[in-house]
């Protein structure tokens, strides 16, 4: 149970709204702009758009201080939720490579795609439905595999 349920819900809404506003102001909602960043071959001709690096840089600098100086436990929740995995493995790097190909094909990653539902509801819906299907199928498959492994049917990865 959350320590401060009202604050928890308020911050959920406020953080979601600030995130969405940030995506719209920075124009990361535009797949063309994202592709223009990934198009490093356009650097010599002057057609490259480094904006995405500025978005990520600004976000990382601000978030760094929150992660660095956060209290020992969250203000409104009992504990921090964080992946405990360490080290590099095939799932991490292979998954990131697969994500990168999809990102480069479409110019879309999950945040901007969700935002675009409220901006240009149309083609983006196909992307979001496929994204949810891919993520959930992978999640179910992973849960199935680890259940099988715990029953001794297949070796765990």
């Amino acid at each position: 149970m959350n320590r401060r349920p009202v604050l928890f819900t308020a911050v959920t809404l406020i953080a979601g709204a600030i995130f969405g506003a940030g995506l719209a102001i920075s124009r990361m909602i535009d797949p063309q702009k994202v592709k223009d960043f990934l198009d490093f071959a356009a650097i010599p001709s002057g057609g490259w758009d480094p904006s995405l690096a500025f978005v990520m840089g600004g976000a990382v600098v601000v978030a760094f201080f929150f992660y660095r100086f956060a209290a020992p436990r969250p203000v409104a929740a009992p504990d921090f939720h964080l992946s405990l995995q360490t080290g590099l493995d095939r799932r991490l790097l292979g998954g990131a490579a697969i994500f990168g190909v999809g990102w480069g094909l479409s110019g879309l990653c999950p945040g901007p795609a969700i935002a675009d539902i409220a901006i240009v509801p149309g083609d983006v819906l196909v992307f979001v439905i496929a994204l949810a299907a891919g993520s959930w199928a992978t999640g179910f498959y992973g849960a199935f595999r680890s259940r099988q492994a715990s029953l001794g049917n297949v070796p765990a990865e």
């Binding site: 969405g20 920075s26 292979g94 480069g104 999950p110 299907a133």
Partner: protein, 145 residues
């Protein structure tokens, strides 16, 4: 670099960082959109409602900002986002993004913003990898095919 918009990019980035920081310090959660979307599933009942609220607030605020901000600040671009990718390609891309972010445990926000600012080695490796493969894909689709 006629399309480069450093100031609005920085302002938007600062807002995204502020969102991620608040969600961590107050709610103890990582602002990774792929994780929030992928985790909005019935197997952890207590973890569903906040995820749906977060995503709904994100979409509504983006829609409102997109329509209102250029009127308040004339320097901001007002043209609609360009969707030039064919539908079939968009569907394949969506599947790849869903599978890839689930396997690697994050996307541009989870690994990119949150992971890098936590100085996570795994996130750093993920960001380098998806940037590299994103750039290779854009190179092939724009300059080779």
């Amino acid at each position: 670099m006629e399309n480069f918009t450093p100031i609005s990019a920085l302002i938007g980035g600062v807002l995204i960082g502020l969102s991620a920081g608040l969600l961590w310090a107050v709610n103890g959660r990582i602002a990774g959109i792929s994780g929030i979307l992928g985790g909005a599933l019935p197997y952890r009942p207590n973890e569903i409602s906040w995820r749906i609220l977060f995503l709904a607030a994100l979409a509504v605020a983006a829609g409102v900002t997109y329509r209102v901000a250029p009127a308040l600040v004339p320097a901001l671009p007002a043209h609609p986002p360009t969707f030039s990718t064919p539908l079939a390609t968009l569907a394949v891309a969506g599947l790849l993004v869903g599978i890839g972010t689930r396997l690697s445990g994050g996307c541009t926000s989870g690994h990119g913003v949150c992971g890098l600012s936590r100085l996570s080695l795994r996130s750093f490796a993920a960001v380098v990898t998806f940037m590299l493969f994103g750039a290779l894909t854009v190179f092939v689709t724009r300059h080779v095919l």
